[in-house]
């Protein structure tokens, strides 16, 4: 037991000695602001992702390999980072050299890789957010941070929810989570939004419609 701990706790208890009871919060806010129609939710996700300058594409299982080949070619990427269990057929047509993540790769090594392709854990339509949880088709957090180009595949409708209250119970807080809403940005110069600072400056989101 540190003395700091005891002092802080004693001060808190002294400060609250006469405080009135504060009841459990009431939650009268909405659980969603969107209709339940999966197509409408997906359209809203698309719209909000694009509004924050993510580049959005739609495809199917049959066409995803060709789409990813084209996106990497248009970018001119020579190399692409691959998380441990990315579905193999996604990159089956792609040209760039695959770099499979290994623990020995340093941040400086990752800085030499042009692009990264991942899946995700969840997408939230109302805020235009994709959430990564380090699952096997995403890998550790640094993979989607150091390269300048991130392609993220979202399975629709199974990975798409409308709102934050719908998202929270589906996420596991014991895993490290990264919530991404558009490419990195700053408002630090005259409160004017500029896309692209330290994270990937180009974010492409592929909405993969499940059959």
């Amino acid at each position: 037991m540190s003395t700091g701990r005891d002092r802080v706790l004693a001060r808190i208890r002294r400060a609250l000695a006469d405080a009135p009871e504060a009841p459990e919060p009431t939650r009268s806010y909405a659980t969603t602001h969107t209709s339940d129609d999966p197509a409408a939710v997906l359209d809203l996700l698309h719209e909000n992702l694009a509004d924050y300058r993510a580049v959005v594409h739609r495809t199917t299982e049959d066409d995803i390999a060709l789409l990813l080949m084209r996106l990497l070619a248009e970018r001119g990427s020579q190399s692409v980072l691959v998380p441990p269990q990315l579905p193999p057929h996604w990159l089956s047509a792609a040209d760039p050299t695959r770099i499979h993540d290994r623990a020995v790769l340093t941040p400086a090594d990752l800085d030499q890789v042009a692009s990264v392709v991942t899946g995700c854990a969840l997408a939230i339509a109302e805020t235009g957010t994709i959430v990564l949880d380090g699952g096997p088709d995403q890998g550790r957090r640094r993979l989607t941070l150091v390269p300048d180009h991130h392609i993220c595949v979202v399975r629709a409708p199974s990975q798409v929810v409308a709102s934050l209250p719908q998202a929270m119970p589906r996420l596991d807080p014991t895993r490290p989570l990264t919530w991404i809403s558009g490419p990195s940005a700053t408002s630090d110069i005259e409160l004017d939004r500029v896309e692209g600072v330290h994270g990937p400056r180009t974010l492409e989101v592929v909405l993969l419609t499940e059959s």
Binding site: S2, L16, D18, A19, P25, Y29, G128, T129, L145, S187
Partner: protein, 486 residues
């Protein structure tokens, strides 16, 4: 560590103490005569104000979210000891180490010892109000450890040997031309120089910062952060950011040290669904900020191998003990109150003499530090009580109520309080020449305040300047309500 001085520098001692800072009326008087500063502030605050109103209007249940946020915070604060102990247990179970710091010196010593134990001489930092409050960078520097700020605005402030003037955008008082000059003059002394042909386009300035900081991120072994929220039931910490510098500092180093005020705890994971809706919209007027990171202790093979959480009191329990003032601890540091404040807009952030400027600073600083100094005693008078700050607050802190409460306390101190009131009346010559404005302030106060002051708030405006537009005859909050969505 020192760097060349940019055009305007604000060297006078440690960031945390603002030694020799003039009291608010004198500092505000100087600031309103600086036309560049005023133009920068006016442009920035008006831009964000309109955007925020639009972002909030998108949610039909905003009032319910605001009420839930208020109640979650009130409930947590009422049982703060219990939730902190639950948090400590969860963080420890997840592989983290929890430290408790009663004051700034204790927190600085804990962090300094942790950094020294790694053998490293430099750290990368995520923007953190708590570490600014305790003057951590200076404490580390005194032990020979260089602390690099990585938020773009913090970088501008650090390179310019300047002081933060806004909670969210600490360099809000700088325009693009000034930022270009700071980068060109100072980056080379700290690491990678700015490009020779650097322009003042915001995109080019951001690119210069990206290049300058990347070498520091890639080699960093120790990261230091704050946190926006801590979840008691799971031991999860949350950092909300935009640029990706936070992700860099939270995931690339081997050791992560987070210094967090004890009031940042919330009971449950679910509670985040409220604050992650209200914070980004109030703060940057976005549906969601670009990046939010959450982590629970350490994770094998992903991110830092060692995680230390330093829980900081540093006066917060004094705030908690005040039955009117304790609502201040609900603050989630969104800075919406700064952006709508007519006094902040004209006086600027530096006049408040603290890392917490604007309306929230005017009530937080005197409670954290007490009102023994002339500056701190003057802060509760740095307001016209117009109530716009309360209207926009996403956790419904009644800032005018607390201001009036603190004015009473200062006045009750005796001679000093009396002198301050006289000084306030003198400095506010403008308001005395504009009786309608004074009446407006008093009327706004009388309309809305639960606790009525024993004497009328004497000093309504501190911005003694001739080109200040006349306040309308209607209470400011009514005027503001009518105009905010336009």
């Amino acid at each position: 560590m020192s760097a060349p001085t940019a055009r305007t520098s604000y060297k006078n001692g440690a960031n945390s103490t603002y030694l020799g800072m003039p009291s608010f009326p004198r500092a505000a008087h100087a600031a309103v005569r600086d036309t560049t500063l005023r133009a920068n502030l006016k442009h920035a605050t008006h831009t964000i104000r309109d955007k925020r109103a639009k972002a909030v209007a998108e949610l039909g249940d905003w009032a319910d979210l605001r009420e839930a946020g208020k109640q979650i915070k009130d409930h947590t604060l009422r049982h703060l000891d219990r939730y902190l102990l639950q948090l400590e247990e969860a963080v420890t179970a997840a592989g983290g180490t929890v430290h408790w710091a009663a004051d700034a010196d204790e927190a600085n010593r804990i962090v300094t010892d942790l950094v020294k134990a790694t053998g490293e001489r430099e750290v990368v930092k995520v923007k953190s109000m708590a570490t600014q409050e305790i003057g951590l960078n200076e404490a580390l520097e005194a032990e020979g450890i260089a602390a690099y700020e990585t938020d773009l605005a913090e970088l501008i402030v650090q390179l310019g040997e300047d002081r933060p003037s806004h909670i969210l955008v600490p360099a809000i008082h700088r325009n693009r031309g000034e930022i270009r000059e700071i980068f060109t003059l100072t980056m080379s002394a700290w690491g990678r120089p700015a490009p020779d042909d650097l322009t003042d386009r915001p995109a080019d300035l951001a690119e210069a910062a990206r290049l300058h900081l990347r070498e520091k991120f890639l080699r960093a072994k120790v990261g230091i952060s704050g946190a926006n929220f801590m979840v008691a039931e799971t031991g999860t910490l949350v950092v909300v950011e935009s640029e990706g510098n936070g992700r860099m500092c939270l995931t690339l180093p081997e050791t992560l040290i987070s210094v967090v005020g004890i009031e940042k705890v919330v009971p449950t994971w679910r509670d985040l669904e409220v604050f992650l809706q209200t914070l980004p919209r109030s703060s940057t007027a976005e549906r969601m900020n670009p990046y939010t990171s959450t982590w629970t202790g350490t994770t094998d093979g992903d991110g830092p191998r060692a995680f230390h959480l330093v829980l900081l009191d540093n006066g917060r329990t004094d705030v908690l003990a005040d039955e009117v003032g304790r609502q201040t601890l609900r603050c989630i540091r969104c800075s919406a109150c700064l952006n709508v404040c007519p006094v902040y807009e004209r006086a600027g952030g530096h006049a408040y003499g603290s890392v917490y400027p604007g309306p929230i600073g005017a009530i937080l600083t005197p409670q954290l530090r007490g009102t023994a100094s002339e500056l701190d005693a003057s802060l509760p008078f740095a307001s016209s009580l117009c109530g716009a700050c309360y209207e926009v607050c996403p956790v419904a802190i009644d800032i005018p109520e607390v201001l009036v409460h603190l004015r009473e306390k200062v006045a009750d101190q005796g001679g000093k309080g009396h002198r301050l009131e006289k000084a306030a009346m003198k400095a506010s010559g403008w308001v005395l020449n504009h009786p309608a404005a004074l009446a407006t302030a008093e009327r706004a106060a009388s309309l809305t305040r639960k606790a009525h002051p024993r004497r009328l708030p004497g000093a309504a405006a501190w911005t003694n300047t001739r080109d200040l537009p006349e306040l309308p005859a209607a209470p400011f909050r009514d005027w503001w309500k009518r105009n905010r969505t336009s």
